[in-house]
């Protein structure tokens, strides 16, 4: 039901049941918010969205109060502005004055609020608290003194990621966001997904930066500097730079990376293809055998850590194949060192990804070959963009270049790995191609491409039955287990921690709404469809590659190159 309410002496239309805030926003009236997150229930904690409602003694939070027909609202009266301003001033009173050095400088909600509310002096002085920096983790850094206790990270960790590593600790003035028994992040149940970083309005939670080490190696001539990037990266770089992605953005990115100083540029997608093919092989084997336990895809490093700490019984069902980044990494070092006659440790290998957990993944003991890391440093897309800016590279003036051999080609399918359900789709399509010689119709996969946090489907390639399940965000996990408990059997289970998949990774620019996310997903599917290396063509290429390297080389037959292991982790859950 529509009705009109008075706002700032003007009539606007409102809908019954909506909040004051949503009515205001729809009518183009902006008021600041801090603790609010779209698609979450309002908590009313920050009090920044307060408005004056005639007849009410106190100010009212617009984010939570439903509109009523009689309402006469003032959104920017002196009283309201004073309250908002004082609230932000209170936050600033003990906030460290380090904006210039802060990782979120110029990209900080608190900074923006202070500017919007025209705060130009430190009117209220507060006692500063200790920085409380926790950089024990490989992916996420926590800085207590910058925290404004809006509670977004706590809620995301609990409601979206469902791991609940973070919560409010203590009470009153001592309240802070912390972990169980105040442990450092690397000891906790944190799975490094970085969703908390994405919602943090300040620099209190941020991604661990590896730019400096990359820079150092880039200027060191004793090393061969190589880089790999995943299919999402070129699109995301364009998005981050604020330009419309040109058609040959992949090639341009190669050029940029070369300009930065990398000697060779490779594609993580090649690793993805190898993984998908191997997984398809394994599934085929499993459908032949009577083994009915599902195969859990282990490509999402956050999910792998989650399984290691929480699902000990499931570890044996986890695919032992390395994830794409690590496959590519280990191939780079093995093949290149042989080709060029240098030691593997002379190769400095960097990976650019949309994911924060991959920083952790690259540091795992099980991701080393003979004591040498498969990948030395992992940069997020946002770090890469910083590097591009740091080296003053003119993107539009950069000529496109091809990636370097031998990991220079990826299939269209490998792009799909960036979205939830994509790996499953690729495996099934691969099997279709193997058994029927033709690619499957994309329409078949509608059910696993979208539709909630738990999706399932059944396929019959060449008369075989393949049941798959996709868990899009850990909140879908209970439903998977309900389904398994009720007797359902799956051949493939794909779990992605970030809802939507890698397109929603914390290494990318934040998706402020579900619409943004949908757009990214759409972009991925479009890229896949328009890519020239469709399954048929690519299969030939991969066969070539296999023949040339994988099958011929004694070294590469070593299982450790492509395979890894998982072990139970004892953390305070």
């Amino acid at each position: 039901m529509l009705f009109s309410i008075t706002v700032n002496n003007r009539k606007i239309t409102a809908e019954k049941g909506e909040t004051i805030l949503s009515a205001l926003n729809r009518n183009g009236i902006n008021i600041p918010t801090l603790c609010r997150m779209k698609d979450f229930t309002p908590t009313g904690a920050c009090r920044l969205c307060v408005v004056e409602v005639e007849g009410r003694e106190n100010l009212v939070t617009a984010c939570s109060e439903p509109v009523e027909e009689w309402m006469n609202i003032r959104t920017h009266s002196p009283r309201v502005i004073k309250a908002r301003k004082t609230i932000v001033e209170l936050l600033l009173s003990k906030h460290p004055d380090e904006c210039l050095f802060c990782i979120n400088n110029l990209d900080c909600e608190l900074q923006r609020l202070a500017a919007e509310l025209n705060i130009r002096e430190r009117r209220i002085k507060g006692r500063k608290i200790k920085p409380g920096i926790d950089q024990s983790g490989h992916s996420i850094v926590k800085e207590l003194s910058k925290c404004v206790l809006c509670g977004r990270c706590v809620r995301v960790c609990e409601e979206l990621v469902t791991v609940s590593t973070l919560d409010f600790i203590n009470r009153g003035q001592k309240t802070r966001v912390g972990t169980s028994m105040n442990q450092d992040l690397n000891f906790t149940s944190c799975i490094n997904c970085g969703q908390c970083v994405n919602v943090c309005p300040t620099g209190a939670l941020h991604v661990k930066q590896n730019i400096t080490e990359v820079q150092e190696y880039l200027s060191n001539h004793d090393y061969l500097k190589v880089v790999q990037y995943s299919p999402m990266v070129p699109l995301a770089v364009a998005e981050e730079l604020g330009i419309k992605a040109p058609k040959d953005i992949d090639r341009i990115l190669n050029g940029i990376l070369k300009k930065i100083g990398f000697n060779k540029v490779f594609l993580t997608g090649t690793g993805t293809d190898i993984m998908i093919e191997a997984l398809a092989e394994e599934i085929l084997k499993r459908t032949d055998a009577t083994d009915q336990s599902p195969l859990f895809v282990s490509a999402c490093p956050a999910w792998v850590k989650y399984a290691e700490q929480s699902l000990h019984d499931e570890l044996e069902n986890l695919s032992k194949l390395k994830p794409p980044q690590q496959i590519t990494g280990s191939l780079i070092k093995t093949i290149l060192s042989k080709q060029l006659g240098i030691k593997p440790q002379q190769i400095y290998s960097v990976s650019v990804t949309p994911c924060t957990a991959m920083k952790f993944e690259a540091r795992r003991d099980s991701m080393m070959t003979k004591g040498i890391c498969d990948v030395d440093s992992v940069l997020t897309v946002r770090e890469l963009v910083k590097l591009i800016r740091l080296y003053g590279i003119d993107v539009s003036g950069t000529e496109g270049e091809a990636a370097d051999e031998p990991l220079n080609v990826r299939s269209a399918l490998s792009v799909l790995a960036e979205v939830s359900g994509g790996i499953t789709e690729s495996i099934v399509r691969k099997i279709f191609f193997r058994l029927t010689g033709k690619d499957a119709d994309r329409k078949m996969f509608r059910n696993i491409r979208s539709g909630g946090s738990f999706r399932e489907a059944e396929f019959a390639p060449g008369g075989r039955k393949i049941a798959v399940a996709v868990v899009d965000g850990l909140s879908g996990l209970p439903r998977l287990y309900q389904s398994i408990a009720s007797g359902r059997k799956y051949h493939i289970v794909e779990v992605m921690v970030c809802p939507g998949g890698c397109v929603n990774g914390a290494g990318l620019q934040v998706c402020m709404s579900k619409e943004d996310l949908k757009n990214r997903v759409k972009q991925i599917y479009q890229t896949e469809e328009s890519d020239i290396l469709q399954i048929e063509t690519f299969s030939r290429h991969l066969a070539d590659f296999r023949g040339k390297y994988l099958d011929k080389d004694e070294l590469l037959k070593d299982k450790k190159i492509l395979h890894t292991y998982f072990s139970k982790r004892d953390v305070l859950l």
Binding site: L166, G178, L572
Partner: protein, 159 residues
């Protein structure tokens, strides 16, 4: 320590349903029995309730009652009610802090002392009040704190 673990298990077994609203009584019982909430106890309660231990730790730190280190051999409670404050309880707390070097809810390294503040005990005519292991010390002055602590230190050395 084994004894504490057994006691914890026994208490947990009485709360099999694992209902969230039993969480605080359960923690209270464990603390009453074992004197504090150990990491192990929190882990067990988390498992029972299907809750992350962070949630339990976050909850427990919200409330004054819960502690995460064993109580000291001598547990001091200072009444921090209004009347006691007006009669100088602030100085008593300051003195204890200075003497023991710990905050309320903590335990000294040697495990001898711990202290906490309580809300009004209702002994307003006798403030400030310091309770040592259940024994009331009334109308206290800061210098009494010194002698009480000295005495307790001596006593514990003798044992």
């Amino acid at each position: 320590m084994k004894k504490n673990e057994k006691a914890t298990d026994a208490i947990i077994s009485r709360y099999k349903a694992g209902r969230r609203d039993d969480l605080i009584p359960l923690l209270q019982e464990i603390q009453e029995e074992t004197g504090y909430l150990s990491e192990e106890a929190i882990r067990k309660v988390g498992k029972l309730m299907g809750l992350s231990t962070t949630k339990i730790y976050g909850l427990a730190t919200f409330y004054d009652q819960f502690r995460f280190t064993p109580r000291g051999k001598y547990h001091l409670v200072v009444c921090n009610g209004t009347s006691c404050y007006l009669n100088g309880a602030g100085a008593i707390v300051g003195k204890i802090k200075e003497e023991l070097g710990i905050e309320p809810g903590e335990t000294t390294r040697d495990g001898k002392f711990s202290y906490e503040l309580s809300s009004c005990m209702g002994g307003c005519m006798h403030g400030p009040i310091l309770v040592v292991n259940g024994k009331y010390n009334l109308k206290l002055k800061p210098e009494h704190v010194q002698s009480i602590i000295d005495m307790l230190r001596k006593e514990s050395e003798k044992l």
